[in-house]
Amino acid sequence: MEHNVFQIIWFVLWGVLWAGYFVLDGFDLGAGILLPCVAKSEEERRAVYQAIGPFWDGNEVWLITAGGATFAAFPKTYAVMFSGLYTALFLLLFALIVRGVAIEFRGKVEGAGWRRFWDFLFWISSLVATLILGVAFGNIFLGLPIDAQGIFRGSFFSLLHPYALLVGLLFVLAFAVHGATWLAFRVNGELRQRLIRDAKVLWVFEAVTAVAVLLFSLKLTPLWGNYLKAPLLFVFPLVAVIGLLLVPYFLNAGRTLAAFLSSGAAILGVTAWGMAGLFPNLFPSRLNPEWSLTIYNSSSSPLTLKIMTVVALVFVPIVLVYTLWTYRTFSFRITREELAYGEGY
């Protein structure tokens, strides 16, 4: 097969890894963002941690793999993106480190002060990580100030463009709704009712922000260009809209798992919409389109792409199988007895 066939395959896989990351880690990041608002007692807070406990670490591996796949398939993009967004990336890293440690450390020592300290860090790190991811993708959609040598000509503050911040806000709201539907699916009693109520309110903000992002993208970004060339792509924003509309419908019916899956479909649709709009760019230059990093000018050699394709085809299905098995095994309703028994957190 031709080299560019593999480059396209890896663009798709790249998109799949990011979408997988947002759909999966999105709900546990959302749970972190919601923690101080929804959980009123220690028992409820423990229920929140318990609801994401068996999953968050595996979910985060999607991000590591998305990073690794960028390095492997498009090393020049990896090199330019990570060095160009230096400060933002380190903020993201510190947030992820704090977050992982907070989840693990919080339950290890008895004491209200100790727990409150890690709860605060869990909340802020979840919020910061989500916001940075959103703002980063907002900037990629806009294009970045990179020159012919791939040197970043902006500063950290130039990344805080209003459109990028809007995408950041969308990420925060979408993950919060996603987290709320997941938690509502996992818990019982008053907490569940509160989560359903909060999810509906947050959903209104999510929907408004999503529409704003789609519209402003028309004016500020080249993302919709590909859709005129290949109208079939409209299926992606359509999935996003349908998914989004189904969330309140299922919440009203009390079908929280269906609401969670719909919210996941919305996140998947939005991610696919953005990726399809970017193609074939990975890291576009705002200064001159010629300087953009694309799947063609930044990819690995044909041999490496072929080997990586074989690895992905063999192992990604295996990963999906045992991930699904884990979700099936641990998606039970969390009860008082379950919490009292106290394995995990």
């Binding site: 406990g53 068996p54 999953f55 670490d57 595996g58 985060e60 591996v61 991000l63 590591i64 793999t65 990073g67 690794g68 796949a69 390095f71 492997a72 398939a73 090393p75 020049k76 990896y78 090199a79 330019v80 993106m81 990570f82 060095s83 230096y86 400060t87 990336l89 380190f90 890293l93 510190f94 992820l96 480190i97 992982g100 440690v101 989840i103 693990e104 450390f105 290890k108 020592v109 040598q149 040197i151 690995s300 050699s301 041999l303 490496t304 080997i307 990586m308 690895v311 992905a312 192992f315 990604v316 990963v319 045992y322 991930t323 884990t326 095994t329 641990f330 028994y341 394995e343 995990g344």
Partner: protein, 435 residues
């Protein structure tokens, strides 16, 4: 501070810190799996408690290993942009394979294990810890294949202004990488073995849960002896490979300035790089030639044969190597002593005391070993192919200095809390046996 130095220091801090946690992860996961397997086979509740007790320590340690690992992956891009561009075709794919094969498996099944005590059958639960342990070790294999390639690049061709993959098999079956794997991973097993022996000895001295800790001790004593002897022999083979493939590193490890046949082995030296000599030295004739090339008259290249800008820091490499080897000898002696007393370790209070004090020593040996490997490779980032100074990103010194300081402060705080938690739970001992 310039960008190259700050970035090197930052990478060193991140790698050093990461490797405070990884070795215990590699070995303690396997030991926990062994204890749980004994429980599943025999039904002896003490081994179930052992799996829970050592597994809890494993979990506390595991969290920091994971989060500090993400930093390392991202740093290749943030701080070493031109390295990533130049070798990403090979190096990047090895990291991506590591994530796909190992990270998913490891982080999924560690959670299954931690949360599954009451939800899974004993056999499936035991399988979860085995999968976690195997995945951790697969992860070590791929990252060491990647590091092995930086030490001794093979299977590539220079094309399109970068190193491109020519033979995947040559990269994967790189002899240097496998010797590195067989050295590093069993060294991690030694560390874990002494961790279990030391914690058990602490409790045995106090006479608490004597039956429980005697059982843990016996398994760990056999385990530690096997790997202490293995690493000792393997280390020699690894050294001869370095002699063949990285002559500047060997010369720095031995503080050898003049090329000579029948080179002596230096027991002690104070190297003087400016004067290209050693101020003081104690030597054993012909031993270096014998060790490195298996012939007492073989020629060994000295540092003066290489231009000064291609020599690694000599004193650092020389002393790190000696610390590692001396501790390696100590581990063989200690593990023999523990093995001899494995049935009744309390009978030897001296042994118990020595074992408690030995807990931190493998950490020192392992970090010293990494210094030999990484500092000894300088000034190359990929030996003979790319210099470290040419690899660094076009970023400002201020950016790197700020993140470097943040890392030092942040990692120190986290490290202190984590080791405090480890000590706390290690001292607390296992949950009481259910009646």
């Amino acid at each position: 501070m310039d960008v190259v130095w700050a970035s090197r220091l930052q990478f060193a801090v991140a790698a050093f810190f990461h490797f405070l946690f990884v070795p215990l992860t590699l070995g303690l996961s396997l030991l926990t799996a062994i204890y749980e397997t004994i429980y599943v086979k025999t039904g002896d509740e003490d081994y179930k408690r052992a799996a829970k007790f050592w597994g809890r320590l494993f979990l506390i340690n595991f969290a920091l290993g994971v989060v500090t690992g993400i930093t390392l992956e991202f740093q290749f891009g943030t701080n070493w942009r031109y390295y990533s561009e130049y070798v990403g075709d090979i190096f990047g794919s090895l990291l991506a394979i590591e994530a796909t094969l190992a990270f998913f498996l490891e982080s999924t099944f560690i959670a299954v294990w931690a949360f599954g005590w009451n939800r899974l059958s004993p056999k499936v639960h035991c399988l979860a810890i085995w999968l976690t342990a195997i995945a951790s070790n697969i992860s070590a294999l791929w990252i060491l294949i990647a590091n092995g390639w930086m030490q001794h690049p093979v299977g590539y061709v220079l094309r399109n202004g970068r190193a491109e993959l020519k033979s995947f098999a040559e990269v994967v079956f790189n002899k240097f990488a496998w010797l590195e794997f067989l050295h590093t991973v069993p060294a991690a097993y030694i560390l874990s073995g002494f961790f279990v022996l030391g914690v058990s000895a602490w409790h045995l001295r106090r006479g608490k849960e004597a039956v429980f800790f005697r059982k843990s001790f016996r398994v760990a004593a056999v385990w530690t002896l096997i790997f202490s002897l293995f690493v000792f022999v393997e280390g020699h083979l690894h050294g001869t490979e370095v002699a063949h493939t990285q002559p500047t590193k060997l010369a720095a490890m031995e503080a050898l300035w003049e090329t000579q046949s029948g080179a002596p082995w230096t027991l002690f030296a104070i190297p003087d790089p400016a004067g290209e000599r050693n101020v003081v030295e104690i030597k054993i004739p012909k031993l270096l030639s014998l060790l490195a090339f298996h012939s007492p008259s073989a020629e060994v290249k000295g540092l003066k044969d290489f231009p000064p800008e291609e020599r690694p820091p000599v004193s650092f490499t020389f002393w790190s190597f000696r610390i590692m080897v001396l501790l390696g000898i100590w581990f063989v002696l200690m593990s023999l002593w523990a093995f001899k007393n494995r049935e009744r370790p309390e009978a030897s209070p001296g042994l118990l005391r020595a074992l408690v004090w030995t807990i931190p020593l493998p950490y020192i040996a392992i970090e010293a070993g990494w210094m030999v490997a990484e500092v000894g490779r300088q000034p190359w980032i990929v030996y003979g192919l790319m210099k470290t100074a040419d690899a660094v990103s076009p970023i400002s010194p201020a950016q790197v200095t700020v993140t470097l300081l943040a890392f030092v402060v942040f990692y120190t705080v986290l490290g202190v809390i984590d080791f405090w938690l480890l000590a706390h739970y290690a001292r607390k001992g296992p949950e009481p046996a259910s009646a």
